[in-house]
């Protein structure tokens, strides 16, 4: 009996070990199951890099070519896997270079932990070399941040960081560690964080709210669902599918929600928003019950709020209470984790088909097909269209690929036309619209899911914002497939200039370098396609390649993305041309 008790105690109380703060950082990462992190070294973070060197058989540090690239790579890693992405940088410029990626992760709810070095604590506030107040700078764009000035604080703060980043509505966390705290030795012991007294990650789902939602849905004649990334973040894909199939509800997605339900599913009615599909945009303003699940009524999704779904009763399934009634006033709010609340909803729903209502979506789709999709996918113009490139990629990857898109026209085309069979397959910068996101995000995605085909779709503009990450792809041998759709314009801005600024193309024309030579300079195989006949073979060579591959497709220079909801217009005023 006695020996058993001793054993148990030993198990509970891990022995303390005297190690440095910097080693503790690495040990914390290992304890959290981190096997890869992205970053860039510098003075204030060198002690941690020294430990990363010693622990290189356990944890893989990927040297990106810019700290922004490190954050996007960490995001790509997190978005495809659901695990926390980790980025690390030095103080000052290293830290400030992380900010765009942190802001992106904040607005797109991506779990990420960023670690920054800081000047020694006795130098804080003295404008020391490479000192920036990164805590103040990052405060509005982090879910949580914390400065550590003593080694002994490291385990607790790191544990909190990982807990906060991935619990509830995920988000980015920044931990800033002074150099002296990295050097200092202390008795290390790691305990995972399980709760924080001031933080309730998942609000309680009121049974009455689920019942009220079920009643509205059961009574609806013309129900419609818009789902967002909440389904993916909550791992609620199966529960969601069961709900819509039972209740027969046409379901549309925001770009952050794409791929949670296969594109080919008969209840998938496409994308809502500024360049979304015609039917769901128009019928948002005709449905009688609008069910929003894990989405936040972004202005790019709703258009003019004063004319948004005014006729409908609104149900909002949401994990973050601050999103409820933020933009659209709800009739029933179901707080909680989507997986759990949808599970509770399912048995309360009546079986339904809504065949006539469904037909409306089909009719409007036929119009959109005729007016837009047909020409996008099977162009009659001589120049290649972005849509036909997507169609070819769909065909050759059989819808199994993860598509990582950048920001602009190609992004909208990619989201509109990519065919997804699997969840977590649409990785794009939604809320922040960060050009330069895709190339580094694709690196992280491929490393987190090496068995999946990862295809980055990028514009010639955004490509040049983080083009240096080709160096990371080369050095770390990441077999991503890179497709640049080159229209020699900042296409999306040019489209707005054409439509709303009388074609005054202010600073949107791009004189581009030879992208093939650049890729080859990084020893990445590269092909350029300028003619339709070359497309199939080029895509096939790219997909067949076991290594990284660069494909430039020269597309029609002045094509526009439609449908389009002009800014300020109502969602149902969506234009087809």
């Amino acid at each position: 009996m006695e020996t058993q008790i001793v054993k148990q105690n030993q198990y509970l109380e891990q022995p303390k070990e005297r190690i440095s703060g910097s080693e503790a950082v690495v040990r914390c990462l290992l304890a959290e199951g981190v096997d890869v992190l992205y970053g860039y070294p510098g003075g204030a973070i060198m002690p941690v890099y020294d430990e990363l060197y010693k622990y290189q058989d356990k944890i893989h540090h990927v040297l990106t070519r810019h700290e922004q690239g490190a954050t996007h790579a960490a995001q790509g890693y997190a978005r495809i896997s659901g695990k926390v992405g980790v980025a690390i940088a030095t103080s000052g410029p290293g830290a400030t270079n992380l900010i765009t990626g942190i802001a992106d992760a904040q607005i797109d709810s991506t779990p990420m932990v960023c670690i920054t070095g800081q000047v020694a604590s006795h130098l804080l506030g003295t404008d020391a070399f490479q000192e920036t107040d990164i805590i103040s700078i990052s405060t509005p764009v982090t879910k949580w941040n914390c400065q550590v000035t003593k080694a002994s604080e490291i385990p607790k703060v790191m544990a909190k960081a990982f807990y906060i980043a991935q619990s509830g509505r995920p988000g980015p966390v920044l931990v800033d560690i002074t150099k002296d705290a990295q050097f200092e030795e202390f008795d290390f012991q790691y305990k995972k964080c399980k709760n924080i007294r001031s933080y309730s990650p998942i609000p309680i789902t009121e049974k009455s709210s689920v019942e009220a939602a079920a009643n509205l849905i059961n009574a609806a004649k013309k129900p419609m669902i818009i789902w967002g990334q909440g389904i993916i973040l909550g791992g609620a894909e199966e529960e969601f599918k069961a709900v819509i199939e039972k209740a027969g509800i046409p379901s549309a997605w925001t770009i952050m929600g794409a791929s949670a339900l296969p594109t080919a599913h008969c209840l998938n009615i496409g994308m809502v928003g500024m360049h979304g599909n015609y039917a769901p945009n128009v019928l948002t303003n005709q449905c009688d019950v609008l069910i929003a699940i894990g989405m936040r009524f972004d202005d790019r999704v709703t258009g003019d709020l004063n004319r948004y779904a005014k006729q409908a009763k609104i149900i909002h399934f949401e994990i973050d209470p601050a999103e409820v009634d933020k933009n659209v006033k709800t009739d029933v709010a179901v707080l909680g984790d989507a997986k759990e609340s949808l599970k509770e909803l399912l048995p309360l729903l009546k079986t339904n088909k809504h065949t006539k209502w469904h037909q409306k979506f089909k009719d409007l789709y036929a119009i959109e097909f005729e007016e837009v999709i047909q020409e996008d996918l099977n162009p009659t113009k001589e120049g290649l269209s972005m849509g036909e490139v997507l169609k070819e990629i769909n065909k050759q990857t059989k819808g199994e690929a993860a598509i990582v898109s950048d920001v602009g026209q190609h992004q909208m085309i990619a989201c509109r036309y990519a065919e997804f069979k699997n969840t977590r397959s649409n990785i794009t910068s939604g809320g922040l619209g960060t050009m330069g996101f895709a190339l580094p995000a694709a690196i992280g995605a491929k490393m987190a899911a090496p068995d999946r085909e990862v295809v980055a779709i990028i514009g010639d503009g955004g490509y040049q914002m983080t083009i240096q990450e080709l160096g990371t792809i080369f050095q770390s041998k990441v077999p991503v497939k890179i497709v640049v759709l080159n229209n020699e314009f900042l296409g999306m801005v040019r489209q707005w200039q054409q439509l709303f600024f009388d074609k005054r193309y202010a600073s949107t024309e791009m004189t581009n370098p030879d992208f093939i030579t650049i890729a080859k300079g990084y020893h990445i195989e590269a092909t350029r396609v300028t003619k339709r006949e070359e497309l199939t073979d080029a895509v096939s060579n790219m997909i067949d390649s076991k290594e990284a591959y660069f494909l430039e497709v020269c597309v029609e220079k002045e094509n526009n993305v439609f449908p389009m909801v002009p800014s300020g217009a109502s969602i149902s005023e969506v234009k087809l041309r």
Binding site: I135, S136, T139, P140, K143, W144, N145, C146, Q147, I164, N195, I196, R197, S198, Y199, S200, D320, P321, A322, V324, D325, K326
Partner: protein, 171 residues
Amino acid sequence: MKKELITVSIYTENFVGLLNRVTTIFTKRHVNIESITASKSEIENVHRYTIVVKESENLIEKIIKQLEKQIDVVGAFYHLEGQTIFQEIALYKIDIENVYESKFKEIISVNHARILEIEKKFVVVEKTGTKEDTDALYNELKPFGLMQFVRSGRVAITKERMNISEILHNN
């Protein structure tokens, strides 16, 4: 929407940088802070900020949710005028030369103010009350040569119960 004076009470952990995080929630929405007070609260190790803003109730409801969302914020509440009992404290520094006028003494007593400190060159007057009260005294003392004036933020006790202990207990 109608703007009114609203008292926001925020209970937080006592961590460095948290006040900054709290104020960014207001500045993000372009809301100006009229006054702000930080102090300990009735619960050990829990701090309390009292922030007064002139805003529409609708917007403040949204700000409250954003405040509550912050990890180290335990709870946030707002109250309209009449739902709190509040005071502000004001200090007035006045040239000693002028205080011998009999009118001065009368003003102090009529306003229920008090002389806090008498130094060689000046006296310091203290008055606790509403903003209107301390403003009124300000106007009356101005002719005596106000060398300095300072007023604290509002401290407020709410009539309604705020369930901080429960939140701390349940998480």
